[in-house]
Amino acid sequence: MGMTITEKILAKSARRVFLEPGENVWLNVDVLMTHDVCGPPTIGIWKNEFGEKAKIWDKNKLVVFPDHYIFTKNVHANRNVDVLRKFAKEYDLPNYYDVGSPRYKGVCHIALAEEGYNVPGTVLFGTDSHTCTSGAFGMFATGVGNTDAAFILGTGKIWEKVPESMKFTFHGKMPEYLTAKDLILQILGDITTDGATYRSMEFDGEAIFSLPMLERMTLTNMAIEAGGMNGIIQADKIAEEYVSERTDKNFEIFISDRDAKYFSKHEYDVNKIEPLVAKPHSPDNRDTVKNVEGTKLTKCYIGSCTGGKITDFINAAKILYGQTVKTSTFIVPASTETAKELEGETYKGLSLKQIFENAGCQIAQSSCAACLGGPDDTFGRAVDKDVVISTTNRNFPGRMGSKKSEVYLASPLTVAASAVNGFITDPRNFLM
């Protein structure tokens, strides 16, 4: 019987020829990623459990990015970064990207791609639920908690239940007014926040393979919002090129067999999908932008691992060019590379940074910022009864700060259009 990409990668990692969904297997991990929120407790458990003999299984396979709560006066948050810093020094970690140093990278999931850690056919675990983002590179990537991460840190191994796979195929040529964000919101509305729990979400189709890597990452990023164990897109020429520019590691490309078994298959025609939002307070509370058009806003936010990549800013700039925002608009480049690109990338002769500044947006340093609320002094944090439209991935109560706030999730095109008007606006009003 045939296997899916995910099954094949897990089989390789478990040193098996064949395996089936539902089996529990021990995997050999290629990369373990952690950050400032979950890194310190992971290190704590690891030291505690392995005691004097605690040894990192393979230093080259451990990657540590401070990115969550870093530009804050909060003493507890700063202490977390200190813990990472000390740990990196004590063990002479080659892959630590300290904040305040030229090595600083910003949001982990984007940095993993940029720094060449995303390699087709490999297995990556991270102490962050959006670790599934890396699946855009035809690899198995998923999030775990601190105990699991501490176990990997000491052994390089972890158990996992082989997931069933669901396939999502997008036919047609992407219209100018749609982004990957709209596609994933479409899926979330259809299958809801637990529609893929303990399963793999495989994306394919002409529309997907036309997207650049950073856009594909928006899809795999939000697989977790449907409860997915991982999101995955078969690596193609575009992926190979992106990876080869960033690492000289060899890689193996896996393709799902024609007779592979799927839990379900879902087909879409992208020309029938409209710009979408997820209304408060759940990523599956989907509606068309048209239906909520006119909703008054107090904040617009373009940032995070979902919607703070250079491709997202290029989309936003198309609309913000020559305009002035009517609502406070926050721009948070996910990575320091993205921040640099804001200055280098141009649209109609202006850099994206100039376009955003001319429009009256506020631009912050790269980090997770208000995507998950954070300490009181976090840039762009939702306060009181804010009504926010955001390119981020979660709008659970209080996710971006205040429990009383309301957050709409949307594409960078929709957020930019809404910023110009001060109320939720269909981007087609600006693009057509």
Partner: protein, 187 residues
Amino acid sequence: MEEKISGLAYVLGNNIDTDQIIPAEHLVYSLTDEEESRKYGQYALSGVPVPLAGLPEGGKQFVESDSYQSKYSIIIGGSNFGCGSSREHAPFALQKAGVKVIVAESYARIFYRNSVDGGFVVPFESTEKLNDKIKTDDEIEIDFKENEIKNLSSNQVYKLKPLGDVLPIIAAGGLFEYARKSGMLEN
């Protein structure tokens, strides 16, 4: 592992995400410092919107102000319990507050793994929807041997799904204990 656990039920709705279990702003406290880690108990479930806190009436504080412990030790949830972030602080916070068992229709994967591998709380799956049958403050008994939940306040008994593959890990008290017992790790 004990055979039976009893306590008061705290009932919640569907999709209780990790931000509701422990709001992100509290993730900064130490998990190992005894004194400081009590704060996780203090703020457990503090992100649940007030009308949905302690169903069916709502408005029931899980942990009284100025306290670090809850009087509720059994949580009855709906579907997709623990969705959202990978923070192990979530099952940890529930354990700190005194929760022993969660009974929900389904769980998000990472929360489920964290509960089991960290040995924090026992996540049982119910065989039917229970958060409309059990009320907050009902007295509950969980029978691990029979895989049953008994509502002592209404004298109703409901079946739970067996813990299956993860039972040995739960019985051992977490992933590390399990790995030591099974010889994967040295003692």
